[in-house]
């Protein structure tokens, strides 16, 4: 079920009532309910996906305990850890990348005129596998390095991997942050619940009003890009960039908000990435749980291994790290090149040593300086440029998009998709401006409207909420899938 669907609302209300009013203050029952609900949620999509999740949960549960038991035998520990990692990576490789490898393999031979008769398999990607596999791998690695204890309670561990607010598209919480919250009783806190509800509202606004509207314009532009002049392709790229931000950060806000309604504090996934002044800052604010995961488990070990090679070593570690970030998204050369480009973007910063040179934007001021604004725009353009690849089916398609974008038709007037009224574009752009205004005002908060209007006269604040709710319902007709479900 999508978060913005009637089924989910009904599911969640039932769950909420049982959780806080029937099983209140009983940790075991609440956790049992979380597990049942999370499995129900997964099975609603497809019971096969649930089976794969359960198998993964059993394997990681057992390995976690044995890795901890093998504390005195480093080799044994390492072997067990690698078994777990190979299982996790192996299942990801199989479900996500099998066909990619087969196609690339066949393609390489084709280039030499040798035609192999290997067919791609009919594999469907299990929902959420990228997310719970990464949770499981971080769990095993943390046990081996002594950063966390193994979980001996089956319900708690299985709930950690399957927790329904974040099972489909993250955030990728670490066991050491989440498990302590599962083990402790949750007490209903009305302030926390209100805050959670506000964050859900904001997430819904971003998803339904901003992302879905951007998608309805950007989608046709990308699909039939050869029909449009460069000016429109630029608009398409811009709208897609906003779309993916609003979609994913909106979903993440809903996940965090729902978790807060249940008494959990899970990590935020976004921190106003488009106010970043360079690419390093951008990645500290975009898809934070994935970046943090990769930094701890990929970049740090790599930079340790390469540490005697100075800046070259760091650059190599960053590039490998970001190629893997790209690849995590899916089995396509477009994602690999996307990641590679982002890694390369770091090179000037690393060489000049200016990675952290910028002070937080508009610190102590209302508006950014001109210099800061240029930095923000430049960073946005760099990111937008790579998202064209991200949204293309192939390198070839992206290539044609870039070629037509950077042609003389860049200066011709915008051509809207067939049948689309210009009011739609105008309205979407107005919403985007409002989005950024609200985000700018709320840029120091966990989510943009956290503190908005808390000092206002109550009816005025509720007026704002009602406007958001109205807009969400008004635009709910154009229901689009969450982009990050496909990862």
């Amino acid at each position: 079920m999508l978060f913005n669907s009637l089924e989910f609302v009904l599911f969640f209300i039932t769950f909420f009532v049982l959780y806080w009013f029937v099983f209140k203050r009983n940790v075991e029952l609440q956790n049992g309910l979380i597990l049942v609900a999370s499995y129900f949620f997964m099975a609603w999509w497809d019971w096969h996906f649930l089976l794969i999740l359960v198998i993964s949960s059993i394997i990681n549960f057992v390995l976690g305990i044995y890795i901890a038991k093998a504390e005195d035998n480093e080799n044994r520990q390492r072997l067990l850890l690698w078994l777990g990692l190979i299982y996790g990576l192996g299942s990801l490789l199989f479900f996500k990348y099998c066909n990619f490898f087969i196609e690339s393999f066949v393609g390489a031979f084709d280039a030499f005129g040798v035609h192999l008769n290997i067919h791609t398999l009919n594999i469907i990607l299990p929902l959420g596998i990228s997310f719970y596999t990464f949770r499981a791998m971080s769990y095993l690695m943390d046990i081996e390095s002594g950063k966390t204890e193994p979980v001996k309670n089956v319900v708690v561990f299985f709930s950690y991997l399957s927790f329904f607010p974040s099972s489909l598209s993250g955030p990728i919480d670490k066991a050491r942050d989440f498990v302590p919250q599962l083990v402790k009783p949750r007490v209903f806190d009305s302030a926390q619940a209100a805050d959670g509800a506000r964050q859900i509202l904001w997430g819904l606004f971003k998803k339904v009003v901003i992302a879905d509207n951007c998608s309805s314009i950007a989608g046709p532009i990308f699909e039939q890009h050869h029909l449009y002049p460069g000016s429109t392709l630029l608009l398409g790229a811009f709208l897609y960039t906003i779309e993916i931000y609003a979609d994913f950060s909106g979903y993440s806000d809903m996940a965090v908000g729902i978790a807060r309604l249940l008494g959990f504090n899970i990590m935020n996934n976004f921190r106003y990435p488009f106010f970043a002044q360079n690419i390093a800052e951008f990645w500290q604010k975009w898809h934070i749980s994935l970046t943090a995961w990769m930094t701890e488990y990929v970049f740090t070990p790599l930079s340790f291994i390469f540490r005697t090679y100075g800046k070259t070593g760091t650059i190599l570690a960053i590039i490998i790290n970001f190629v893997l970030v790209g690849l995590w998204h899916g089995a396509n050369w477009t994602f690999i090149v996307y990641g590679f480009l982002h890694g390369c973007y770091f090179i000037p910063l690393l060489l000049k040593g200016t990675v952290n040179a910028n002070k937080p934007i508009a610190e102590g001021r209302i508006f950014p300086t001109f210099r800061e604004l240029i930095n923000v725009l430049a960073t946005f353009l760099l990111v937008m440029f790579t998202l064209i690849l991200f949204n293309s089916q192939s390198i070839t398609q992206a290539f044609y998009y870039y070629k037509d974008l950077f042609s003389s038709s860049l200066f011709s007037s915008v051509l809207l998709p067939e049948g689309m009224r210009s009011i739609k574009l105008t309205l979407t752009l107005v919403f985007i401006v409002i989005l950024f205004m609200i985000e700018w005002i709320g840029r120091k908060q966990l989510y943009a409207i956290a503190n908005l209007g808390l000092n206002w006269y109550r009816p005025v604040r509720w007026g704002l909420y009602y406007i958001l709710i109205f807009l969400i319902f008004y635009f709910s007709g154009n229901e689009q899938q969450f982009i990050y479900f496909q990862f």
């Binding site: 390095s145 002594g146 950063k147 390093a280 930094t295 970049f299 740090t300 070990p301 930079s303 340790f304 540490r307 005697t308 760091t314 690393l350 990675v355 952290n356």
Partner: protein
């Protein structure tokens, strides 16, 4: 080597890499409370410490470090 000596040497390295002195060399000092000490500068600091003290760390040892106190203890154990 005495802990205070080790700390002093670490301090010199931190100042040289991070280019500022906005931190106190307390045992509970951690990277999170020092501006500019992130995953990118961390390995530079570690490499300078290895060179400065003529020691070699293992990744597993680094993973167990939570604060300056742990780091000083680790260095001291490697020097003896």
């Amino acid at each position: 080597m005495e802990k205070s000596e080790i700390k002093a040497k670490i301090r010199t390295i931190l100042v040289a890499v991070l280019k500022h002195e906005n931190f106190e060399m307390n045992d509970d000092l951690s990277a999170a409370n020092v501006a500019g000490w992130d995953s990118l500068t961390h390995m530079v600091i570690i490499t300078e410490i290895e060179k400065g003290f003529q020691i070699k760390f293992k990744l597993k040892e680094l993973n167990k470090l939570n604060n300056l106190g742990n780091l000083v203890d680790l260095i001291q154990s490697k020097l003896s």
